[in-house]
Amino acid sequence: MRVYATARTAFKALRRNPMRAMLTTLGIVIGVGAVIAMMEIGAGSSAALKKTIASMGANVLVIQPGTASSGGVSFGAGSTTTLTPEDSRAILRECPAIRNATPMVRARTQVVYGNRNWVPNAIYGTTPAYLEVQNWSILAEGEPFSERDVLNGNRVCILGQTLVRELFEGASPLGKDIRIKNIAFRVIGVLTPKGANMMGFDQDDVILAPWTTIKYRVTGASLSTSNQSTTVATDSVNTLSNLYPATQGGLYPDRASVQQADNPMPVRFANIDSIMAAANNSGEISMAIEQITGVLRERHRIRPDDPDDFNIRDMAELTKTLSTTTTLMTNLLLAVAMISLVVGGVGIMNIMLVSVTERTREIGLRMAVGARGRDILRQFLVEAVVLCLTGGAMGIILGHGGSLLVKLLLHWPVETSPAAIAAAVLVSAGVGIIFGFYPAWKASRLDPIEALRYE
């Protein structure tokens, strides 16, 4: 028998008892509806969760220069001076797995405003991309500094909440000047509070400024400046602390100290402390590490058998948390989905069994006029599948409507998931076949004589 005719027969049979068909479908409608709603709300929550964990820096890679050593004495991580801002740009340009990258220069020194002072955890010299890398783009106040500020080495900065509290006692710092190592920085933005990170490090105790400004104006020639007053003193007197060969002259005639103070010659030997890069997503981190390694080895002209002059750290712990959480969430939803669908399927099976009993005479008649067992089997199976698919379609609408309602009324994050819809259709057809099979098989095994005699 043709498929179309079978489907038509099934529809007609179902239409003969619309109330029963509707009640039967209800199980699947609610089942699929629950699945869709759960999937959409769950996917939304999962995405929100992912975003939260990602904002903790799960996708962030930190590239540090490698270890310099001299005569067997290692100087510790980050002691070579090979990492440059150009490396950062090259990584962003040449690594497809990288979303963004930013050079980082770190300083730790005293900050002064009026009669208050404070030594923040970190003063970061960076680019505007840092905020995007750290998922910190939304500022509490003001606006971030620009690429132009970075190019010009402008003295602008963004404060973390802790600094606002400590230096300004909670008042708005916008437009005020703070001094870092006697250099005035205008506060143009305030970061949103982020709290402590996993290590207990206060992430709000931070100042962000263009890396050029921090490098050339604040840390100056020194990598290790801790105390403002001593640094100022040594800068002017002790030339031995100058790390950069350019300042030791040779190329240019020595300048008088007055001349130098009036018109400092900028030193643009630009090594940076680290590069912070963000992978597209947590799944691409290992790929990103590979790509960065390739790019940097090429740029630094490292021979194949020589070791890297840099190292890359990822947030493995966070990434693991992220994937565990996501898997857990997915499995939980799957379990709930399965249970509700099984319940719906059992409902279908019950009604189909009742239907087979009730229609015994019809089955007998169909057999008498030439229906084979498999025709009957197919008819009831198609009926069950039609019921389930109709129920599935209604369930999708119901579930989607439900999740939209939740979004509108409760403002929960909701994400439409085409995969869930496709799965729901497949599963409802599957449920129809699995739970429709037994009643259909029972019907096909009826003896036409008995069936015709059945009252």
Binding site: M1, R2, A5, T6, T9, K12, R15, R16, N17, R361, E362, G364, L365, R366, M367, A368, V369, G370, A371, R372, G373, R374, D375, P448, I449, L452
Partner: protein, 241 residues
């Protein structure tokens, strides 16, 4: 031409350890174009014989030749196909599908037919059949909107839709009053004489059997009597159309 030939058909039902013989060696021949009534008291085995003749059941022993084909060895599916192509059934209780229009009821057996008719062809044929039984104006009526006689006529149209050579009627007038019974029986006679359809009726009503050209009386699993009915103006069996 012999349409149906039975050779010492036996049917025994197994009730646990006890075997109950219902048919004890039935042999008979029915030729094309006959109008046969199968009568007998209840328990005489006429329904069992009817089921075997209708290929709904298999004999325990014996041969059943239908239209030149030995049927007692056919599989369930093959018998279903045979029923579809060669046999029509009319039941006492009509057995129409409820909430299904007359035309769809009539067209139903076509969906199991081997020949592939389009939806439109099937409906045309069903309409034609309904016209033949005088219900051309009731195509879209539901069974509940039809009288008993009309319902039985729909059932007859349904039995004839695949143009079978044989029509089985199991107590066709059992649920009808005498007037509509008469109509239905006259229709059988007309189908028999005009279209040459072989009709086999099971009945216990002598009045119904009186319409047949040949009456087979059964008792206790054997044929008691096989003759033309007593009554004026009836031909002897065997008249070719």
């Amino acid at each position: 031409m012999d349409l149906i030939t039975l050779r010492s058909i036996e049917k025994t039902y197994q009730m646990g350890d006890i075997s109950v013989p219902v048919l004890k060696g039935i042999s008979l021949t029915i030729r094309q174009g006959e109008l046969v009534a199968l009568t007998g008291s209840s328990g005489s085995g006429k329904s069992t014989l009817m089921n075997i003749l209708g290929c709904l059941d298999r004999p325990t022993a014996g041969e059943y030749w239908l239209d030149g084909q030995e049927t007692s060895t056919l599989s369930t599916d093959e018998r279903a196909l045979l029923r579809n192509r060669k046999l029509g059934f009319v039941f006492q209780s009509f057995n129409l599908l409820a909430r299904t229009s007359a035309i769809d009821n009539v067209a139903m057996p076509l969906s199991y037919a081997a020949e592939d008719l389009s939806e439109r062809e099937a409906r045309e044929r069903a309409a034609e059949m309904l016209g033949k039984v005088g219900l051309a104006d009731r195509l879209d009526h539901y069974p509940s909107q039809l009288s008993g006689g009309q319902q039985q006529r729909v059932a007859i149209a349904r039995a004839l839709i695949n143009r079978p050579p044989v029509l089985f009627a199991d107590e066709p007038t059992g649920n009808l009053d005498s007037k509509t019974s008469e109509e239905v029986l006259q229709m059988f006679e007309r189908l028999n004489t005009e279209d040459g359809i072989t009709i086999i009726m099971v009945t216990h009503d002598p009045k119904v059997a009186g319409h047949a050209k040949r009456v087979i009386r059964m008792d206790d699993g054997v044929i008691l009597d096989d003759a033309a009915p007593a009554g004026p103006g009836r031909e002897a069996p065997g008249g070719m159309p």
